[in-house]
């Protein structure tokens, strides 16, 4: 990040992250230059081992997830099928299916664990987990008519604001719309009835807007809230499930999401001026592919979104030039201040006639020394910033990655974006001991492992590029439901006519 010489909490946090990432990317760059094709390998077996361990017994540190146990099942099972690695021997399929069944409320829907109130989010997770397991035993667990009645009960009438409440007495935000519709779609239930019941299209549209007109372009949790990656995915995917994404201000959404891919790290942030996080590789990373599929551009029939990018100024050379100019300008200012302090110190020295003057001289010299120290730190920073650009994700992509088309000007801009994202995931989000993470410095967890892998799969499918080589290729993920496309097709076929 170019901080314009003015630090704030935002820039300090960003800088701290960039230092960590730079270390990883420098290392990666060196390996790539050495011709090490394994430098961007996806550690399938390690991640599979990490995931499998979570499906059985978890330590008491997980008590905070006691209301999210169906989520744990989904994150782990989905992660394993994306990695194309087997489920553990224990717990067996029977146990997992029995457990998920025990989370189902007799009146419909699933809670986060047995006896818990049914809740839209664990409902989505339970359905997705069962669809991922697949087969009649798993799929027949779900009481579809009761589930639909539950979903309808969660609808808020349009005249009371619309949208859906997460559970009886719960909060209303755009996640509810998504969880409900995705569950319906996976179960081959009618999505339109639900949407009409709660004025869903209008609710989601208002979540993109602030008092009527879109502002940043992304979607917030509730009408008027700040644009946010997680809620953006939920709102957009829900509209895509209804074939109504045209209800959104699409150009504004596109430019918002494009600006949130960090040119240095390669990953996505969830909000403007916040840090990148591996999970947004899916929430944000799926936005352009969703728009491509469900809202193809009308203006240019032959071009797809993969060939247009609102922001064409992210070539490594441009970024490097910008960083250099910034660093020089900002440090020049500091140097000028230092010069002024030194001048003042010299003046004091020349005019020193008595003790007071000597004291002033000492003070002036001390001030000059501090200014000099700040300048030196600033110059160090500047050097690092320029290096950061040279080793940033976009630059790494330009040097040519294993598995990617040859570097050069004819590489589609979208492919640069997708490759940068994949570099971020493979170089910064993989924990060597297994599992994937938010960012370097954070511990891996099941949630991040799931969404990092899903983000990787989506990026590969959309761009046609598998960074790291064919050994990294992941199966196709359904963009709207985030389950394997083949599992979804099987489930919907099984439910049809039932």
């Amino acid at each position: 990040m170019l901080d314009d010489g003015i630090a704030s909490d935002t820039s300090r946090e960003q800088w701290a992250l960039e230092v960590r990432v730079l270390e990883l990317y420098r290392h990666l760059d060196a390996r790539l230059l050495d011709g090490d094709d394994g430098a961007l390998e996806l550690y399938r077996d390690k991640h599979a081992k990490f995931l499998r361990k979570g499906l059985g017994c978890l330590n008491a540190g997980f008590l905070g997830l006691d209301a999210s146990r169906t989520w744990l099942c989904y994150w782990i099972l989905h992660g394993l099928v994306l990695l194309e690695r087997p489920f553990p021997a224990q717990p067996d399929r029977d146990s997992i299916i029995t457990f998920l069944a025990s989370c189902q409320d007799p009146e419909g829907g699933f809670g986060g664990g047995p006896y818990q109130l049914p809740h839209l989010a664990p409902t989505y997770a339970a359905v997705a987990a069962l669809v991922t397991l697949g087969g009649p035993q798993a799929l027949s667990v779900i009481d579809r008519p009761a589930l639909m009645r539950f979903l309808l009960r969660m609808c808020i009438p349009p005249e009371q604001g619309g949208g859906m409440v997460m559970h009886d007495g719960g909060e209303v935000d755009v996640r509810g719309c998504y969880c409900a519709l995705a569950a319906c779609h996976m179960l081959n239930l009618d999505v339109q009835t639900l949407a009409d019941c709660c004025g869903m299209v209008d609710f989601i549209r208002r979540c993109q807007a602030c008092q009527g007109k879109s502002y940043e372009g992304g979607i917030g949790g509730e009408p008027g809230n700040e644009a946010h990656g997680g809620y953006t995915y939920c709102g957009l995917a829900a509209l895509c499930l209804l074939d109504r994404c045209q209800a959104l201000d699409i150009p504004s959404l596109e430019s918002w999401v494009a600006a949130l891919q960090a040119p240095f790290e390669g990953g996505y942030a969830g909000r403007t001026n916040k840090l990148v996080d591996g999970c947004y590789s899916f929430w944000q990373g799926a936005v352009l592919p969703l728009l491509d599929r469900y809202a193809p551009s009308n203006a240019r029939a032959t071009e797809t979104r993969t060939e247009q990018r609102p922001d064409q100024d992210l070539s490594p050379e441009t970024l490097a030039a910008r960083a250099l100019v910034h660093s020089l300008a900002v440090r020049l200012e500091a140097a000028e201040k230092l010069e002024a302090e030194a001048e003042a110190a010299y003046s004091s020295a020349v005019h020193a006639q008595n003790d007071a003057a000597v004291s002033n001289l000492q003070h002036a010299a001390r001030t000059a020394q501090h200014a000099s120290q700040r300048l030196r730190e600033g110059l160090d920073r500047a050097r690092s910033q320029v290096a950061a650009v040279a080793h940033g994700a976009a630059a790494l992509v330009a040097t040519g990655l294993p598995g990617a088309p040859a570097a050069g000007r004819d590489v589609a801009q979208s492919s640069v974006g997708a490759q940068s994202l994949q570099v971020w995931l493979l170089a910064a989000c993989q924990e060597l001991r297994g599992g994937m993470r938010d960012k370097p410095g954070k511990a891996p967890d099941y949630y991040h492992t799931c969404y990092c892998l899903a983000g990787l799969a989506v990026s590969q499918a959309w761009s046609g590029v598998v960074v790291g080589g064919p050994c990294n290729a992941l199966p196709t993920v359904d963009l709207r439901c985030n389950v394997r496309a083949d599992a979804l097709a099987d489930a919907r076929a099984w439910f049809s006519g039932r």
Binding site: G56, C57, S95, F99, G161, G169, E171, G212, Y215, E222
Partner: protein, 337 residues
């Protein structure tokens, strides 16, 4: 709002409920989880935790709304899992049942108009229920304790929203203080900002909005890159603009601008905002937030009226700070189709 007195809480209920011993629980056995052939995502619990959770599930399954249930929910929220939505919901039902006063119609409940539509949810009791102030105060103490440990918990903020709605517009100052305290620890806490917007929208008054503008100005002074502060300010300004233009404004964010409420580009509201933008982009030209904000002011004035000003500002900034991609993007948007 009519004065509500609570009946003296009698006998055992007034004493601390012993959650662990059998004395208060002889009539209700803890409910164990349904058996599984093999453990599945099974979270290890020590004996005490398992007993307490078992008692809670028993209470919930029996539909019991009681003092001991209420005490149990507090313990679970504070010491076992602050994100247990079922426990929070059960707690609120207990509060309504034990402390609340059911009222026959909306007028008697004393809730000011507009509060209700920020927090629409299916009512547990079926009738609007008034919750007396001391009970709400007890809830607020719980919220403060939970927020200290985890200020990003959905259940906390949902409970806060419900308690605020029950308290009515008079609770605005308390809510602003609470969100302010959370934001002091994390100036970008999404839940806190959403809550702030909800309570201000519910108790909307121009003087409140202007005070909030001043508060965001201070936050932006501390971190001009705080996009959440800019985003909240956009809500305030657009809502104020709708008021000034005499158009109806829907609590929480629905359409007067769609009807074309516009201000004069030279109006004080716009001028002050553009000044704020100017200061921010001169200080931190590379930050996206202020540029997005400037562009976001455009729907408030006749189409295109701000474009020239924004473009000129962008050019000026690019002259001094040619590295700013955010300025370049803003220039493109201001000049574009």
């Amino acid at each position: 709002m009519p004065e509500i007195t609570i009946e003296e809480v009698e006998g055992d209920a007034a004493q601390a409920v012993d959650l662990l011993s059998d004395s208060h629980w002889r009539d209700l056995a803890p409910l164990p989880y349904p058996p599984l052939p093999q453990p599945v995502v099974e979270i290890d619990m020590d004996e005490e935790t398992a007993l307490l959770m078992g008692r809670f599930w028993a209470v919930k399954t029996a539909g019991e709304l009681s003092e001991r249930a209420l005490a149990l929910t507090e313990h679970i929220i504070l010491h076992i899992n602050g994100a247990h939505y079922t426990v929070w919901e059960w707690r609120w039902r207990c509060v309504l049942a034990l402390r609340g006063k059911e009222v026959g119609d909306v007028e008697e409940s004393g809730s000011p108009p507009g509060v209700a539509d920020t927090t629409p949810w299916p009512s547990a009791s079926g009738f609007p229920t008034a919750v007396p102030a001391p009970a709400l105060e007890a809830e607020r103490e719980l919220h403060a304790a939970v927020a200290a440990a985890n200020p990003k918990n959905y259940q906390l903020w949902n409970a806060r929203r419900r308690a605020a709605a029950a308290a009515g517009a008079g609770a605005l100052a308390l809510e602003l203080a609470f969100t302010g305290a959370c934001l002091a620890l994390d100036a970008k806490n999404y839940h806190a900002w959403a809550h702030r917007q909800a309570v201000v929208a519910a108790a909307w008054e121009e003087s409140v909005a202007r005070a909030e503008l001043e508060a965001t100005r201070q936050l932006l002074g501390e971190d001009p890159r705080n996009n959440s502060a800019w985003s909240y300010r956009m809500y305030l300004v657009r809502a104020l603009a709708a008021d000034l233009a005499g158009v109806g404004r829907r609590a929480g964010g629905g359409g007067p601008l769609e009807g074309g409420a516009t201000l004069d580009p030279g109006s004080p509201l716009i001028a002050i905002e553009m000044d704020l933008v100017r200061n921010a982009v001169h200080a931190v030209p590379s930050s996206q937030s202020a540029w997005a904000y400037a562009l976001g002011l455009r729907p408030l004035v006749p189409a295109g009226a701000l474009n020239q000003g924004i473009a000129a500002l962008a050019r000026q900034v690019l002259g001094a700070a040619p590295w700013s991609l955010a300025a370049l993007r803003a220039l493109r948007r201001a000049e574009g189709p």
